[in-house]
């Protein structure tokens, strides 16, 4: 088991390095100069000397490989440098915005799991019945509706019908749970329903496969009641793939965060990425994308390890 863990850990390193390099290259290829942007302002009068000085100050006049090396070295110490746009350490900027995104991600995942697992199970157990069709239609339909559209319609509906607007400032739930709820409930539902749609479909299909397995047939043959079969045997064995799914769809969740945070103008990491790309704020974008990749890789690793723990066959691949 330990060899497997070790091997997997080793494999991560080149992946992360590669991701870091790719991000760096992508950002440098995008046209647009952050120094020009800063000096351009709303109506700025560009002074060439200031432009040159600015580029120097930001370290943009160094050759690319030097910039890359500096950044990489910083990454290893978890120091992502300073934002080019604001001059603040990237870590600080992240720290402000992370709690909101984490809460959103967590709650959305919880909501989706609570909805999708029972629904998926139900649909699988009653395959091809009207229940199954209904669940499938709802989950497919849910997936088809653009998230940002739902978000804005949500806001509009609340404003037009109730004259209600969400709170504009994030308060952590332990300080003011009601204010936090008011701000987060709609974004959570907007992100959650799509996540739930995906998870429902997956739960259903993995359940279907499991239900066809021999040992299930044996259980039927033994005369066990449906509930015992489903819950005790099928569910346990479908959980692994579903956990896997939660891991792989984590990326899907992040995409949802980006759009939803933009729509609801939440001060989270998702919106921060979009803004930073627009500002050509290289250190921030590099840090964020790298961290996204990093967390994604870690999550997958944990999922794989869990899988391997339960299914010894995998370990010896």
């Amino acid at each position: 088991m330990w060899t497997y863990i070790f091997k997997r850990l080793l494999l991560i390193i080149p992946t992360l390095l590669g991701a870091a390099t790719l991000v760096f290259l992508i950002m440098r290829v995008i046209p647009g100069d952050v120094a020009l942007l800063i000096l351009g302002g709303d109506q700025g009068q560009i002074d060439q000397k200031q432009l040159v000085a600015m580029r120097q100050q930001l370290g943009l006049d160094q050759p690319l490989y030097v910039q890359f090396g500096t950044w990489l070295w910083g990454v290893l110490r978890f120091d992502f440098g300073k934002s080019l746009w604001t001059g603040q350490p990237v870590i600080d900027e992240l720290a402000i915005r992370l709690p909101l995104s984490l809460e959103l991600a967590l709650l959305a995942t919880m909501v989706s799991v609570i909805i999708s697992i029972p629904l998926g199970m139900l649909a699988a157990v009653r395959q091809d019945s009207w229940v199954d069709y209904l669940v499938r239609v709802i989950s497919i339909g849910g997936l088809a509706i653009p998230g940002f559209w739902v978000g804005i319609l949500c806001i509009l509906f609340l404003v037009i019908v109730f004259g209600w607007g969400p709170p504009l400032e994030f308060t952590p739930p332990w300080i003011n749970p009601w204010a936090n709820f008011q701000m987060m409930v709609w974004p959570v539902l907007t992100v959650g329903y799509r996540y739930a749609a995906v998870t429902t479909r997956m739960t259903r299909s993995t359940m279907l496969e499991v239900l066809r397995e021999d040992y299930i047939r044996t259980a039927w043959a033994k005369g066990l009641r449906e509930r015992a079969v489903v819950i005790r045997h099928a569910l346990k064995n479908s959980m692994l793939p579903v956990i896997t799914l939660v891991g792989t769809e984590f990326a899907f969740l992040i995409g949802g965060l980006v759009v939803t945070e933009t729509v609801f103008t939440l001060n989270g990491v998702g919106r921060f990425v979009v803004d930073a790309v627009a500002h050509r704020d290289y250190p921030v974008v590099q840090a964020l994308i790298f961290l996204t990749a990093f967390s994604f890789v870690i999550v997958n690793l944990l999922v794989d390890l869990t899988y391997a723990w339960f299914d010894p066959r995998i370990r010896y691949r």
Partner: protein, 536 residues
């Protein structure tokens, strides 16, 4: 293949709206009743400040949140644009040769840490603006090239010595961006104010959560003894327009200082009626099209003229106004101001005549003469922001189709656009905006001179350079006006640049916010010292 429907819903709504706005435009200035003390003003703002130093930034996102925390040497009278009055300065004298400006400043001003504000601080702040130290930037440095030195002979006198007389110096010194910092902090670190605040304004800094909120509280030791009335203010940062409008509508915020689209304004007014006030003001800003004069076919003045002839400005004002606020037809200085080209003369310039059909016919003729009888294809670069950039482009493209010019709209992110258009001249046509805090000819017209960094069209006309230099030194207003009008006419006759429309805006606020007068610029009158809340 248009089906012309009878005048329908759209036009009726437009008429009703304009009528409603005229009615709604209460005179929001000095309130007759006594100001009430207390309350925190809640505002929404559409962008986050990159840094907190207005010397080093050019965005309203910085200025609006920090302006109440600082004082400036001079300011524009909030109730009487464009009159200049003192803030820190009490009076000033100009020498007869126009080269020395002497300002007397108040002696009772204290920074928020208790230290007095003296001429040395004014001098240090202006030194930073006029000659920025290494490692800092001064966004408006170019407007102070005539300043030879700034001196502080004693604690209450500041002297500006100029290299040559300047008609615009006072206007430029009234800039809301030129806040006064304490010298001792500047000496230690000129970049101190990027992240920190130490001012002498009516409010003191309280808290700032990046991307989220900015808060300040009342300064009890402000030099105007009974101001400010408010206990504090709080800005919520919210980049999405609909969300900002929803915030005002639901009462989570009381005011949006910059602009809201007419459709949102109508909806808010419909729902809240008298509880909100809409101030509709012109803005010192213009949208037009920059033309790359050094590449074909725009090297030919006939082609450039054809573009402006093909653009029906008067209809544009009608169509684009409900969508974007772009409204007034004018030349290169704002219509209605002393520097504007008089309408009678304006209509003689290419593209400004009232007969759109005739203009289009002439445009086609010019294009044929220049060798493009069937028009041509061109790329119009643009900023990737819907209002008003994209909407303006849609209209312009529609218009040019009628004379055979097929323009492809190519929006770019601001960063990429600046790089292409400003830095490298890599464009054919580009939607271009000029927005300022004051109708200052120096600032507006500089970009038509040779070699100016904002002369993105890269043309060089010695007549323009000469006119510009002369108007900058002309101290006689009548003479100056003639030079300025001539300069505008020259640019438009040669069609170096195609002006579009001048901007207007709607400032929406709850009626309980009293004594806020929206000026023609979203950069000025942001000190909030006279504002009060009728109820919390």
């Amino acid at each position: 293949m248009t089906v012309r429907s009878p005048r329908t819903f759209g036009v009726v709504v437009l008429a009703l709206v304009i009528g409603a706005l005229i009615l709604a435009m209460t005179s929001p200035s000095v309130a007759a009743d006594t100001p009430r003390r207390g309350g925190v003003l809640l505002a929404v703002i559409g962008a986050d400040a990159p840094t907190l130093d207005p010397h080093q930034e050019g965005t309203f996102a910085t200025l609006q949140v920090v302006a109440p925390l600082y004082s400036t040497l001079l300011q524009i009278d909030p109730y009487n644009y464009p009159k200049i009055i003192g803030d820190v300065a009490t009076d000033w004298k100009i020498s007869s040769d126009g080269l020395t400006y002497t300002f007397k400043i108040r002696s009772d001003i204290r920074f928020h840490d208790g230290t007095p504000l003296t001429a040395a601080d004014v001098r240090a702040s202006y030194d930073k603006i006029v000659s920025p130290p290494a490692g800092t930037r001064s966004m408006r440095k170019n407007t102070y090239t005539m300043v030879a030195s700034v001196e502080a002979p004693d604690a209450s006198t500041v002297v500006f010595k100029l290299k040559h007389p300047s008609a615009s110096l006072l206007d430029n010194l009234a800039s809301p961006w030129n806040v006064i910092y304490p010298k001792k902090y500047l000496d230690k670190d000129p970049n101190y104010f990027l992240k920190n605040v130490m001012g002498s304004g009516p409010f003191k800094f309280k808290a700032y959560t990046r991307g989220s909120t900015f808060e300040a509280e009342r300064n009890p030791d402000y030099f105007l003894k009974d101001r400010p009335y408010l206990n504090g203010y709080k800005f919520f940062i919210s980049p999405e327009t609909s969300v900002r409008a929803a915030a005002i509508r639901s009462g989570r915020a009381y005011i949006e200082f910059r602009d809201l689209p007419l459709s949102e304004v109508e909806a808010i007014k419909r729902q809240l009626g008298d509880k909100v006030t809409v101030q509709h003001t012109p803005l010192i800003g213009q949208w037009g099209v920059a033309i790359q004069n050094t590449i074909k076919p725009f090297t030919d003045v006939r082609v450039r003229r054809a573009l402006t002839l093909g653009f029906d400005r008067y209809t544009a004002g009608r169509v684009l106004f409900p969508l974007t606020g772009l409204r007034h037809v004018g030349a290169l200085m704002r219509p209605g101001t002393e520097w504007a080209v008089p309408p009678a003369e304006l209509e003689k310039l290419p593209g400004f005549g009232r007969d759109a059909e005739r203009n289009r016919a002439e445009a086609k003729k010019l294009l044929a003469e220049a060798g493009y009888p069937n028009g041509f294809k061109v790329v119009l670069k643009n900023r990737n922001v819907k209002l008003p950039y994209q909407d303006f482009a849609v209209y312009v493209i529609q218009e040019w189709r009628k004379i055979g010019v097929e323009a492809e709209n190519r929006p770019l992110e601001t960063a990429a656009l600046l790089s292409d258009v400003r830095d490298h001249g890599n464009f054919e046509l580009s939607v271009s905006a000029t927005v300022e805090y004051i109708d200052d000819p120096d600032v507006f017209l500089r970009r038509y001179t040779t070699g100016d960094p904002n002369n993105v069209g890269r043309y060089s006309d010695p007549i323009l350079d000469d006119l510009f230099a002369r108007q900058g030194r002309a101290l006689d207003p009548a003479e100056r006006k003639k030079l300025i009008v001539d300069m505008q006419k020259r640019v438009l006759e040669q069609a170096y640049y195609m002006p579009g429309l001048w901007w207007t805006r709607n400032v929406v606020h709850w009626t309980k916010v009293k004594n806020y007068v929206a000026p023609p610029s979203h950069y000025t009158n942001q000190k909030l010292q006279d504002v009060w809340l009728a109820e919390d």
